[in-house]
Symmetry: C2
Protein backbone atom coordinates (compact mmCIF):
# COMPACT_ATOMS: atom_id res chain seq x y z
CA UNK A 1 0.00 0.00 0.00
CA UNK A 2 1.25 3.43 -0.89
CA UNK A 3 1.42 6.10 1.74
CA UNK A 4 -0.08 9.41 0.78
CA UNK A 5 -0.52 12.90 2.22
CA UNK A 6 -0.31 13.20 5.96
CA UNK A 7 0.63 9.58 6.49
CA UNK A 8 3.54 9.80 4.10
CA UNK A 9 4.68 12.97 5.79
CA UNK A 10 4.50 11.42 9.25
CA UNK A 11 6.26 8.30 8.12
CA UNK A 12 9.11 10.42 6.81
CA UNK A 13 9.49 13.15 9.37
CA UNK A 14 7.71 12.29 12.59
CA UNK A 15 9.51 10.77 15.46
CA UNK A 16 8.88 7.15 16.31
CA UNK A 17 10.07 6.10 19.72
CA UNK A 18 11.15 2.54 20.18
CA UNK A 19 10.98 1.11 23.67
CA UNK A 20 14.44 -0.31 24.37
CA UNK A 21 12.96 -2.92 26.65
CA UNK A 22 11.07 -4.76 23.98
CA UNK A 23 10.98 -3.02 20.62
CA UNK A 24 7.55 -1.54 21.03
CA UNK A 25 6.86 1.54 18.98
CA UNK A 26 5.40 4.67 20.43
CA UNK A 27 4.40 7.14 17.74
CA UNK A 28 4.94 10.07 20.04
CA UNK A 29 6.52 10.90 23.34
CA UNK A 30 3.96 10.20 26.02
CA UNK A 31 4.30 13.13 28.33
CA UNK A 32 2.54 13.01 31.63
CA UNK A 33 3.34 16.54 32.67
CA UNK A 34 1.38 19.12 30.68
CA UNK A 35 3.11 22.18 29.32
CA UNK A 36 0.72 24.23 31.38
CA UNK A 37 2.18 22.81 34.58
CA UNK A 38 5.71 22.94 33.25
CA UNK A 39 5.42 26.61 32.31
CA UNK A 40 3.61 27.39 35.53
CA UNK A 41 6.41 25.86 37.59
CA UNK A 42 9.05 27.76 35.64
CA UNK A 43 7.20 31.04 36.06
CA UNK A 44 6.75 30.48 39.78
CA UNK A 45 10.42 29.65 40.20
CA UNK A 46 11.36 32.79 38.30
CA UNK A 47 9.14 34.91 40.53
CA UNK A 48 10.55 33.26 43.63
CA UNK A 49 14.06 34.09 42.52
CA UNK A 50 13.28 37.81 42.19
CA UNK A 51 14.50 40.26 44.78
CA UNK A 52 11.65 41.57 46.91
CA UNK A 53 8.02 41.43 45.86
CA UNK A 54 8.13 43.76 42.88
CA UNK A 55 5.52 42.92 40.22
CA UNK A 56 7.02 41.27 37.16
CA UNK A 57 5.39 41.67 33.77
CA UNK A 58 4.09 38.65 31.87
CA UNK A 59 6.21 39.61 28.89
CA UNK A 60 9.37 39.52 30.97
CA UNK A 61 8.64 36.07 32.35
CA UNK A 62 7.66 34.77 28.94
CA UNK A 63 10.84 36.04 27.35
CA UNK A 64 13.08 34.76 30.12
CA UNK A 65 11.57 31.27 30.11
CA UNK A 66 10.91 30.89 26.38
CA UNK A 67 7.17 30.59 26.81
CA UNK A 68 4.34 31.77 24.57
CA UNK A 69 3.17 34.97 26.24
CA UNK A 70 -0.52 34.46 25.55
CA UNK A 71 -0.42 30.93 26.92
CA UNK A 72 1.43 32.09 29.98
CA UNK A 73 -1.21 34.76 30.57
CA UNK A 74 -3.89 32.15 31.16
CA UNK A 75 -1.63 30.11 33.42
CA UNK A 76 -0.75 33.08 35.62
CA UNK A 77 -4.40 34.01 35.76
CA UNK A 78 -5.19 30.60 37.19
CA UNK A 79 -2.42 30.94 39.74
CA UNK A 80 -3.77 34.30 40.80
CA UNK A 81 -7.34 33.07 41.14
CA UNK A 82 -6.14 30.25 43.34
CA UNK A 83 -4.36 32.60 45.68
CA UNK A 84 -0.81 31.66 44.83
CA UNK A 85 -0.04 34.87 42.97
CA UNK A 86 -1.10 38.48 43.28
CA UNK A 87 -1.34 40.92 40.38
CA UNK A 88 -1.23 44.62 39.75
CA UNK A 89 -2.69 46.34 36.72
CA UNK A 90 -1.44 49.32 34.75
CA UNK A 91 2.01 50.77 34.50
CA UNK A 92 4.51 49.09 36.78
CA UNK A 93 2.08 46.21 37.09
CA UNK A 94 2.63 42.49 36.83
CA UNK A 95 2.50 39.33 38.92
CA UNK A 96 4.13 38.67 42.27
CA UNK A 97 4.17 35.98 44.94
CA UNK A 98 1.80 36.52 47.81
CA UNK A 99 3.38 34.06 50.19
CA UNK A 100 6.89 33.06 51.08
CA UNK A 101 8.13 30.37 48.66
CA UNK A 102 8.79 28.18 51.70
CA UNK A 103 5.06 28.17 52.39
CA UNK A 104 4.02 27.00 48.93
CA UNK A 105 4.10 23.20 48.83
CA UNK A 106 4.34 21.42 45.52
CA UNK A 107 1.21 19.43 46.32
CA UNK A 108 -0.81 22.62 46.04
CA UNK A 109 0.85 23.80 42.85
CA UNK A 110 0.49 20.43 41.15
CA UNK A 111 -3.16 20.04 42.08
CA UNK A 112 -3.98 23.53 40.89
CA UNK A 113 -2.16 23.24 37.57
CA UNK A 114 -2.17 19.55 36.75
CA UNK A 115 -5.13 18.28 38.69
CA UNK A 116 -5.01 14.89 40.43
CA UNK A 117 -1.63 13.61 41.55
CA UNK A 118 -2.77 9.99 41.41
CA UNK A 119 -2.51 8.08 38.15
CA UNK A 120 -6.01 6.69 38.42
CA UNK A 121 -9.13 8.31 39.92
CA UNK A 122 -9.79 5.39 42.26
CA UNK A 123 -6.68 6.15 44.33
CA UNK A 124 -6.98 9.94 44.25
CA UNK A 125 -7.29 11.76 47.57
CA UNK A 126 -8.84 14.95 46.23
CA UNK A 127 -10.40 13.75 42.99
CA UNK A 128 -11.62 10.30 44.00
CA UNK A 129 -13.88 8.42 41.65
CA UNK A 130 -14.88 4.79 41.52
CA UNK A 131 -13.86 2.77 38.48
CA UNK A 132 -16.75 1.69 36.32
CA UNK A 133 -15.27 -1.64 35.34
CA UNK A 134 -13.87 -2.72 38.69
CA UNK A 135 -16.27 -4.43 41.11
CA UNK A 136 -13.96 -4.51 44.10
CA UNK A 137 -11.13 -2.08 44.76
CA UNK A 138 -9.60 -4.12 47.54
CA UNK A 139 -8.81 -7.00 45.20
CA UNK A 140 -7.89 -4.89 42.16
CA UNK A 141 -4.27 -5.28 41.09
CA UNK A 142 -4.14 -1.88 39.41
CA UNK A 143 -5.52 -0.24 42.51
CA UNK A 144 -2.94 -1.93 44.68
CA UNK A 145 -0.04 -0.82 42.49
CA UNK A 146 -1.23 2.71 41.86
CA UNK A 147 -1.80 3.28 45.55
CA UNK A 148 1.92 2.78 46.11
CA UNK A 149 2.80 5.09 43.23
CA UNK A 150 0.52 7.77 44.57
CA UNK A 151 2.02 7.59 48.04
CA UNK A 152 5.59 7.82 46.82
CA UNK A 153 4.83 10.68 44.44
CA UNK A 154 2.89 12.47 47.13
CA UNK A 155 5.83 12.24 49.45
CA UNK A 156 8.06 13.98 46.92
CA UNK A 157 5.59 16.81 46.42
CA UNK A 158 5.09 17.15 50.16
CA UNK A 159 8.80 17.38 50.76
CA UNK A 160 9.30 20.13 48.20
CA UNK A 161 8.21 23.73 48.41
CA UNK A 162 8.70 26.43 45.82
CA UNK A 163 11.77 27.54 47.74
CA UNK A 164 13.42 24.17 47.08
CA UNK A 165 13.13 24.64 43.33
CA UNK A 166 15.02 27.92 43.16
CA UNK A 167 18.60 27.22 42.02
Amino acid sequence: MLLTGLKLFRACFCKILVCPIANVNFPYLRCMLSKKTKYGLKALTFLASQEGRVPVQISEIAKHENISQKFLESILLTLRKTGILGSKKGKGGGYYLIKDPKDIPMTTVMRVLEGPIAMVPCVSLNFYEKCGDCPDEASCSVHKLMLQVRDSTLEVFRNNTLADLVP
Copy 2:
Protein backbone atom coordinates in the same frame (compact mmCIF):
# COMPACT_ATOMS: atom_id res chain seq x y z
CA MET B 1 -24.57 34.42 25.81
CA LEU B 2 -26.80 31.45 25.15
CA LEU B 3 -25.31 28.00 25.10
CA THR B 4 -26.30 25.88 22.16
CA GLY B 5 -25.80 22.36 20.86
CA LEU B 6 -22.83 20.47 22.17
CA LYS B 7 -21.84 23.18 24.61
CA LEU B 8 -25.27 23.26 26.18
CA PHE B 9 -25.23 19.50 26.46
CA ARG B 10 -21.83 19.47 28.09
CA ALA B 11 -22.73 22.25 30.46
CA CYS B 12 -25.73 20.26 31.61
CA PHE B 13 -24.50 16.69 31.70
CA CYS B 14 -20.74 16.54 31.64
CA LYS B 15 -18.77 16.24 34.76
CA ILE B 16 -16.82 19.24 35.95
CA LEU B 17 -14.24 18.51 38.57
CA VAL B 18 -13.48 21.22 41.04
CA CYS B 19 -10.08 21.15 42.70
CA PRO B 20 -10.76 21.26 46.44
CA ILE B 21 -7.48 23.03 47.02
CA ALA B 22 -8.39 26.17 45.18
CA ASN B 23 -11.63 25.99 43.22
CA VAL B 24 -10.04 25.36 39.87
CA ASN B 25 -12.21 23.61 37.34
CA PHE B 26 -11.06 20.62 35.38
CA PRO B 27 -13.45 19.75 32.57
CA TYR B 28 -12.48 16.12 32.70
CA LEU B 29 -10.69 13.67 34.91
CA ARG B 30 -7.05 13.88 34.01
CA CYS B 31 -5.95 10.30 33.97
CA MET B 32 -2.30 9.56 33.65
CA LEU B 33 -2.65 5.83 33.32
CA SER B 34 -4.05 4.84 29.94
CA LYS B 35 -6.77 2.23 29.70
CA LYS B 36 -4.41 0.21 27.58
CA THR B 37 -2.05 -0.17 30.54
CA LYS B 38 -4.86 -0.64 33.00
CA TYR B 39 -6.46 -3.43 30.97
CA GLY B 40 -3.07 -4.97 30.28
CA LEU B 41 -2.27 -5.12 33.98
CA LYS B 42 -5.62 -6.67 34.77
CA ALA B 43 -5.22 -9.27 32.06
CA LEU B 44 -1.72 -10.15 33.21
CA THR B 45 -2.88 -10.51 36.79
CA PHE B 46 -5.72 -12.73 35.68
CA LEU B 47 -3.32 -14.94 33.74
CA ALA B 48 -0.95 -15.07 36.70
CA SER B 49 -3.76 -16.24 38.95
CA GLN B 50 -4.59 -19.19 36.69
CA GLU B 51 -3.59 -22.68 37.68
CA GLY B 52 -0.78 -23.98 35.49
CA ARG B 53 0.06 -22.53 32.09
CA VAL B 54 -3.09 -23.44 30.21
CA PRO B 55 -3.90 -21.00 27.38
CA VAL B 56 -6.77 -18.67 28.23
CA GLN B 57 -8.96 -17.25 25.49
CA ILE B 58 -9.21 -13.51 24.93
CA SER B 59 -12.97 -13.70 25.30
CA GLU B 60 -12.68 -15.26 28.73
CA ILE B 61 -10.29 -12.58 29.98
CA ALA B 62 -12.39 -9.81 28.46
CA LYS B 63 -15.55 -11.09 30.08
CA HIS B 64 -13.94 -11.63 33.47
CA GLU B 65 -12.36 -8.17 33.58
CA ASN B 66 -15.12 -6.18 31.84
CA ILE B 67 -12.91 -5.16 28.94
CA SER B 68 -13.77 -4.59 25.29
CA GLN B 69 -12.61 -7.79 23.62
CA LYS B 70 -11.33 -6.14 20.46
CA PHE B 71 -9.33 -3.60 22.41
CA LEU B 72 -7.90 -6.33 24.60
CA GLU B 73 -6.83 -8.26 21.49
CA SER B 74 -4.41 -5.54 20.49
CA ILE B 75 -3.05 -5.22 24.01
CA LEU B 76 -2.37 -8.93 24.36
CA LEU B 77 -0.75 -8.92 20.95
CA THR B 78 1.68 -6.26 22.13
CA LEU B 79 2.45 -8.27 25.24
CA ARG B 80 3.14 -11.33 23.14
CA LYS B 81 5.42 -9.49 20.74
CA THR B 82 7.43 -8.18 23.64
CA GLY B 83 7.99 -11.64 25.04
CA ILE B 84 5.82 -11.34 28.12
CA LEU B 85 3.06 -13.62 26.85
CA GLY B 86 2.91 -16.66 24.63
CA SER B 87 -0.03 -17.60 22.44
CA LYS B 88 -1.56 -20.62 20.84
CA LYS B 89 -3.87 -20.55 17.83
CA GLY B 90 -6.84 -22.72 16.99
CA LYS B 91 -9.09 -24.74 19.28
CA GLY B 92 -7.87 -24.80 22.84
CA GLY B 93 -5.74 -21.79 22.06
CA GLY B 94 -5.30 -18.52 23.90
CA TYR B 95 -2.68 -16.58 25.81
CA TYR B 96 -0.45 -17.73 28.63
CA LEU B 97 2.47 -16.43 30.67
CA ILE B 98 5.89 -17.46 29.45
CA LYS B 99 7.77 -16.63 32.61
CA ASP B 100 7.13 -16.96 36.31
CA PRO B 101 5.18 -13.93 37.58
CA LYS B 102 7.98 -13.35 40.08
CA ASP B 103 10.33 -12.70 37.15
CA ILE B 104 8.18 -10.03 35.51
CA PRO B 105 9.02 -6.66 37.04
CA MET B 106 6.54 -3.82 36.78
CA THR B 107 9.18 -1.60 35.18
CA THR B 108 9.10 -3.81 32.11
CA VAL B 109 5.33 -4.01 31.93
CA MET B 110 4.91 -0.27 32.37
CA ARG B 111 7.49 0.62 29.74
CA VAL B 112 6.00 -1.78 27.25
CA LEU B 113 2.42 -0.67 27.73
CA GLU B 114 2.63 2.92 28.89
CA GLY B 115 6.00 4.02 27.56
CA PRO B 116 8.25 6.29 29.62
CA ILE B 117 7.92 6.15 33.38
CA ALA B 118 9.22 9.69 33.81
CA MET B 119 6.80 12.60 33.63
CA VAL B 120 9.03 14.60 31.29
CA PRO B 121 11.36 13.33 28.56
CA CYS B 122 14.38 15.16 29.98
CA VAL B 123 14.48 12.89 33.04
CA SER B 124 13.62 9.65 31.27
CA LEU B 125 16.13 6.81 31.45
CA ASN B 126 14.93 4.90 28.40
CA PHE B 127 13.22 7.64 26.41
CA TYR B 128 15.49 10.58 27.10
CA GLU B 129 15.03 13.73 25.10
CA LYS B 130 16.29 17.25 25.65
CA CYS B 131 13.74 19.99 26.23
CA GLY B 132 13.53 22.52 23.45
CA ASP B 133 12.82 25.49 25.67
CA CYS B 134 15.27 24.77 28.46
CA PRO B 135 18.86 25.93 27.97
CA ASP B 136 20.32 24.22 31.01
CA GLU B 137 18.97 21.11 32.68
CA ALA B 138 21.13 21.45 35.75
CA SER B 139 19.47 24.72 36.73
CA CYS B 140 15.93 23.82 35.61
CA SER B 141 13.43 23.69 38.45
CA VAL B 142 11.10 21.33 36.62
CA HIS B 143 13.97 18.98 35.90
CA LYS B 144 15.02 18.97 39.53
CA LEU B 145 11.52 18.14 40.77
CA MET B 146 10.68 15.57 38.14
CA LEU B 147 13.93 13.73 38.74
CA GLN B 148 12.78 13.04 42.28
CA VAL B 149 9.36 11.91 41.10
CA ARG B 150 10.92 9.57 38.57
CA ASP B 151 13.18 7.99 41.15
CA SER B 152 10.42 7.39 43.65
CA THR B 153 8.07 5.98 41.04
CA LEU B 154 10.81 3.81 39.65
CA GLU B 155 11.45 2.36 43.06
CA VAL B 156 7.84 1.28 43.36
CA PHE B 157 7.87 -0.42 39.97
CA ARG B 158 11.18 -2.08 40.73
CA ASN B 159 9.88 -3.45 44.01
CA ASN B 160 6.80 -4.97 42.44
CA THR B 161 6.59 -7.97 40.17
CA LEU B 162 3.49 -9.44 38.60
CA ALA B 163 3.40 -11.95 41.44
CA ASP B 164 2.92 -9.13 43.94
CA LEU B 165 -0.25 -7.97 42.19
CA VAL B 166 -2.10 -11.28 42.42
CA PRO B 167 -4.56 -11.09 45.33
